[in-house]
């Protein structure tokens, strides 16, 4: 087996691989990668280098993990998961990602493909108009500083109070859409300046809003799907992928700088500057945790305002209220975050970067509606292929600190993708295949071509076979909005 590393990689099972702690100087724990042999062989060198760098960090517990959609990232690989002891461990923006609480949200409808197809062009135009996307786009919500502070501390709850959504939405958002411990005094004015005008905006890069179809033949677990409100029968759903925008990025940048200096003071060394960190219990560590929670809440609020706009667009196009259209929130889940969670070792700080929480049935953190099926896990594929809904398992809690994949994962650089196809051509090709794309930037569209990503189905099969998540349904795109 040829891999992009010289390190020894031992097979634990067909889908779990381990790099022993003896393979790199300074490793405190082994590194484990969840992947089929094929996916493992396609993983870039960065995955192996970075997951073993993470395994060297102070206070790391059990394993440094990488999910099957893993690829090179800043500090941690994308798909990286690591849990740290609260007393001896660290917190690192490189383990959360620049886009704090980048996440996925899925909204169901009672509409079918037959209902939507004749109005798809109008619907996508209306969504494109109501949900700003692309470089520098500002949102319609005008905030003063006090209101932005409220967004930072109250997240999606603030949105509901302002009329941007339904109270029952909150029960279907990770942490109820509001993480405790957010403290605006730990956030820089620069971060506020970047974020205050961006509520309700998609951004660009790999972020999107997608109208999708759930077909009967792509529902793998009808009973669980029914609990989630997914009926199949060519049902229309809407998926949103975005995060805390410039605000979260500035929080991450600010604290990377703070931590570079703090590490010298605390005598911490890391293998990569992008793994800059501070002891979790230190003043710097606690400040970052509080600021990161501000950004996480802002991301929940961002996706909530976007949901309000999506509901408004559907209501206008179909001339019925969003309630009448059955536009309930299925779930909203973060995939760039650090949280204190309880495992058999005790309370740990779990970093998930491009990885999704995957708690099983009966977990107190799973909403009441989903207690019997486990926490919904929403994974976005490329805009040309499918996306998936899965549910969490007890096995994930035992094996992967309650974590699983988050998407397809790139295999080709943006620069290479742009050289391979022009955005206009891709847009036409996709239209011929029944996917209507509205994009602010044609070069940005080319960067997101399907061939630049792994086959999400193979990634999903890996997590399904290992039992850290169970697949429920595949969602096929018919309309996409990109920045």
């Amino acid at each position: 087996m040829t891999l992009n590393t010289e390190m020894r990689v031992n097979r634990i099972t067909d889908e779990v691989w381990e790099i022993p702690a003896t393979e790199k100087s300074g490793m405190v724990v082994p590194a484990r990668i969840y992947a089929t042999q094929g996916i493992l062989q396609s993983m870039d060198r960065g995955v192996f280098d970075q997951v073993t760098n993470v395994a060297c960090m102070p206070g790391i517990t059990r394993y440094a993990l990488c999910m099957p959609d893993g690829h090179w990232g800043y500090g941690f690989p994308i798909g990286g998961v690591a849990a740290f002891d609260l007393e001896t461990g660290v917190i690192s923006p490189g383990g959360v990602g620049y886009d704090v609480n980048c996440g996925m949200r899925l909204i169901r409808t009672d509409l079918t493909l037959e209902d939507v197809q004749p109005k798809l062009e109008r619907l996508m135009t209306e969504l494109f108009r109501r949900v700003p996307a692309g470089v520098g786009a500002g949102g319609f919500v005008r905030l003063n500083r006090d209101a932005f502070d409220a967004v930072m501390t109250r997240g999606a709850r603030w949105c509901i109070e302002q009329g941007y959504g339904w109270h029952r939405d909150l029960a279907h958002i990770e942490e109820g859409g509001c993480i405790a411990g957010a403290d605006p005094s730990t956030v820089s004015e620069h971060a506020v300046g970047r974020g205050i005008n961006q509520l309700g905006t998609l951004g660009s890069g790999n972020h999107y809003l997608e109208v999708q179809v759930v077909s009967n033949d792509r529902v793998f677990d009808p009973e669980t799907a029914a609990v989630l409100g997914l009926t199949g029968q060519d049902q229309i759903v809407v998926m949103v992928h975005c995060g805390s925008r410039g605000f979260g990025h500035q929080v991450a940048s600010d604290y990377l700088k703070t931590f570079e200096k703090a590490m010298r003071r605390y005598g911490i060394t890391v293998k990569d500057q992008q793994l800059a960190c501070a002891p979790f219990r230190s003043p710097e560590g606690q400040d970052y945790f509080a600021a990161m929670n501000c950004a996480a809440n802002t991301a929940f609020a961002n996706r909530q305002v976007i949901t309000h706009q999506i509901r408004s667009a559907f209501a206008q196009v179909f001339d019925r209220s969003a309630e009448e259209l059955g536009m309930e929130l299925v779930y909203d889940v973060a995939h760039n975050i650090a949280k204190v969670e309880r495992y058999h070792e005790g309370n740990l700080l779990v970093h998930r970067k491009g990885a999704t929480r995957s708690f099983g049935p009966g977990s107190p953190d799973v909403p009441r509606d989903f207690q019997k099926i486990g926490q919904p896990v929403i994974c976005g594929g490329s805009m040309e292929t499918g996306s998936y809904v899965l549910v969490g398992t007890d096995r994930a809690v035992h094996e992967t600190f309650g974590s699983t994949m988050h998407g397809a994962g790139r295999t080709m650089s943006r620069a290479q993708a742009k050289k391979s196809i022009r955005g206009e051509q891709l847009q036409q090709d996709m239209k011929r295949r029944g996917i209507l794309v509205k994009a602010v930037s044609m070069s940005g569209l080319a960067e997101e071509a399907g061939f630049a990503y792994k086959n999400i189905s193979e990634v999903v099969e890996t997590v399904d076979r290992t039992g850290i998540t169970k697949k429920v349904a595949e969602l096929r795109p018919i309309g996409n909005i990109k920045g």
């Binding site: 500090g75 500035q250 943006r414």
Partner: protein
């Protein structure tokens, strides 16, 4: 050739990277700024109706460049603008380097401007500023 830049294909899988070079630190700053402005939008399609004057100092030209590029990203979001050009002066004063800049652009307008990637941050990943002979080089990975 006083300064130039090129985008790098294989350094940042999910993001974008460029290498800039120039005959002096000032020329290097001009090249790197040009690359960043081009990443955000085609400058030829952006008017110069918004302007911001800035001054920054640092003992290290690498830190100064990093902070300057980060400021450009900040103004993109804070003012909701993309950029036409930047007029830069970089000089050494004893042990410090001083940047004086005039950044020009216009509010984002999807109907008039060719918008590209929304750069969200300048990263320290593989970040490198070096002098080889009389020429200065910088490698920058930007998060998009």
């Amino acid at each position: 050739m006083a300064h130039s830049f090129q985008f790098l294909d294989d350094i940042a899988l999910a993001d974008l990277a460029f290498e800039a070079e120039g005959d002096s630190v000032e020329e290097l700053f001009c090249a790197a700024t040009g690359a960043l402005l081009e990443t955000l939008a085609d400058p030829a399609t952006v008017a110069a109706t918004w302007e911001r004057r800035m001054e920054k100092v640092s003992e290290d030209p690498a830190d100064l460049l990093f902070d300057w590029l980060s400021d450009v990203v900040y103004w993109k979001d804070a003012a909701g603008v993309v950029f036409h050009d930047a007029e830069l002066s970089v000089r050494q004063e004893g042990s410090t380097w001083r940047l004086e800049a005039v950044l020009r652009g216009a509010s984002v307008d999807q109907t008039m401007q060719t918008l590209r990637s929304d750069v969200k941050g300048i990263t320290k990943h593989l970040y490198d500023v070096r002098q080889e002979g009389s020429r200065w080089y910088a490698r920058v990975v930007v998060d998009v």
